[in-house]
Symmetry: C2
DNA sequence: AGCCGAATTCCACGGAGCGGAAGGGTATTT
DNA sequence: AAATACCCTTCCGCTCCGTGGAATTCGGCT
């Protein structure tokens, strides 16, 4: 159905569920707390509608009201977020290894998973005495611009890779890989070497090294990366520690290829119903995090 | 079955926003992934309604579908959760100090903020070689049952304390403080000593030590706690490190009483009656839907 | 005071969303 | 192999809920 209005501000005909979600969607890192009117303006909803929905969200705990009368995201959302397969179990399992890795390398450590064309960081351990990197827990960046993202992309399906390569690839620095052919070549290298080393792709004078993490069916489910200031240390020297950590995490996740010594260890009493195409991590944790 | 009998599940006349939220609400730590039908049953919504709403949520990223066709909470929720004032900035600021604290003590570290009558953990650093404690990031427990919760309660408004004491106080172990008078006495001790030391209140054979963290207006905005196995170390020996960390975090948050170089903190008179809005504690929900 | 913006409440109308029912798929049972 | 029992998906008419405009209150600023 053609849109009859030539108005630049057409009414997007939202469903009521979309209205609710659009309210949550106006919050971002630059808008951590917003007044009712601001929410109304940014969503395009009328003030009365916004008022009613915001109150329902607040009662449920999805929004909270701070001292100045403004609204921000509520703790209930934080709780919910820990229930994601990635942010919950995967992060939980990986965390001790990431701590060890940071302790050993004193660098910034990131753990990321794919979502859409982006990579989302489900953990970000920042070193105190190194360059600040623009990545935080919950942060999202295009895959082609980060070391961890390129690792994930390299191990994605062929069609997905082409889909990403065909999209608009934003250039962040002069080093950002945006040429499809160059990227294809780079991704092949990453697959072959098992590690991605990038320099100043997203941020100048920052080097990143990243390797994949595999899950129960040996699929790449996440990537772990280290970022250090350019020239501080040889990136290659970080690879062994990084690889070891990634392998430990993979093993803890039940990845066959990372199984210790003998045959692939299978989590007992855990019936895996044959799944068609599992792009996400399996559900239950083997439960051997501690010692 | 359309009989409006006095069934335990009567039709609660939900608004459409509540329907959306109720879908998100059926996920918890024991139900990390649910099929469409399960969501439908647990929410009480009809299958077709559930189907439509779930799809809208999935398109937006609030839900994701895993390989086996089940749904779980989506990464977008995780991202949103990092935008909460507590889970975002506060956690971000506190994290390095908590890491140091864990490194020094090798114990479980928790950072919690109040919500309703509960305490919610916005960070949980688990020691590898100690007892497992039933607390995870995003976990929620009654204030009266945890060391951190008791600290927060002790520094809440008088009326809020009474409100909590008047509510049903669940007993988790034989040590759980459930008697209002005993609790009042304990809370007074906590205020006086500036630290809460509890033993096996929530979990047997686990000791917890917790101290408050103060924000810009010197309000207690969070609590940090350590848990160790009973008898392993003297809880008192952990207090100095814990207090130092809490003070560092308070200072980083801009708490006047923790300002660098200032005079030793005096046992503040807590008659700060003019609590305008304490951003967190005074979070009641007077606005009831409908009305 | 007067002005302005924000927040809150009220109400009638219209169409979005609800739910019943039917169709198609897949695994489990007889 | 037929039968059974789920589960997921789609369609469509009716109804009731949500919408948005207007009116009211509140608070800050000149």
């Amino acid at each position: 159905m053609a849109v009859p209005t030539g108005d630049s501000l057409e009414s997007p005909r939202l469903t009521s569920a979309q209205r609710v979600l659009s309210i949550l969607g106006v919050f971002d890192t630059e808008n951590l707390s917003l007044s009712l009117s601001e929410i109304s303006r940014r969503t395009g909803l009328t003030l009365s509608t916004t008022h009613r929905l915001v109150n329902e969200l607040r009662c449920w705990g999805a929004l909270s009201r701070s001292g100045d009368g403004k609204y921000s995201i509520g703790l209930r959302i934080l709780e919910l977020g820990t229930l994601t397969p990635q942010g919950g179990q995967l992060r939980e399992i990986a965390l001790p290894y990431l701590h060890d890795l940071q302790h050993a390398t004193r660098a910034n450590i990131h753990l990321g998973v794919p979502q859409g064309h982006d990579i989302v960081y489900i953990e970000s351990l920042r070193a105190r005495d190194t360059v600040p990197v623009p990545s935080r827990l919950g942060g999202r960046w295009p895959m082609h611009a980060t070391g961890t993202g390129l690792v994930l992309l390299a191990h994605s399906s062929q069609e997905f890779q082409e889909e990403v390569l065909a999209s608009k690839l934003r250039r962040y620095t002069e080093n950002t890989l945006t040429d499809p052919d160059a990227l294809r070549h780079f991704l092949a290298e990453v697959r072959k070497a098992g590690v991605a080393v990038v320099e100043s792709q997203l941020t100048r004078d920052v080097m990143a090294v990243a390797v994949p993490i595999r899950g129960p069916r040996d699929h790449v489910v996440a990537a772990v990366g280290i970022t250090v200031p350019s020239g501080s240390v040889s990136p290659r020297s970080l690879v062994p520690a990084l690889s070891a950590s990634a392998r430990s995490i993979s093993r803890a996740l039940g990845a066959p290829s990372a199984a210790a010594g003998g045959p692939p260890r299978r989590p007992a009493h855990w019936q895996v119903r044959e799944v068609k195409y599992s792009t996400s991590v399996a559900q239950r944790e083997p439960g051997l995090v501690g010692g």
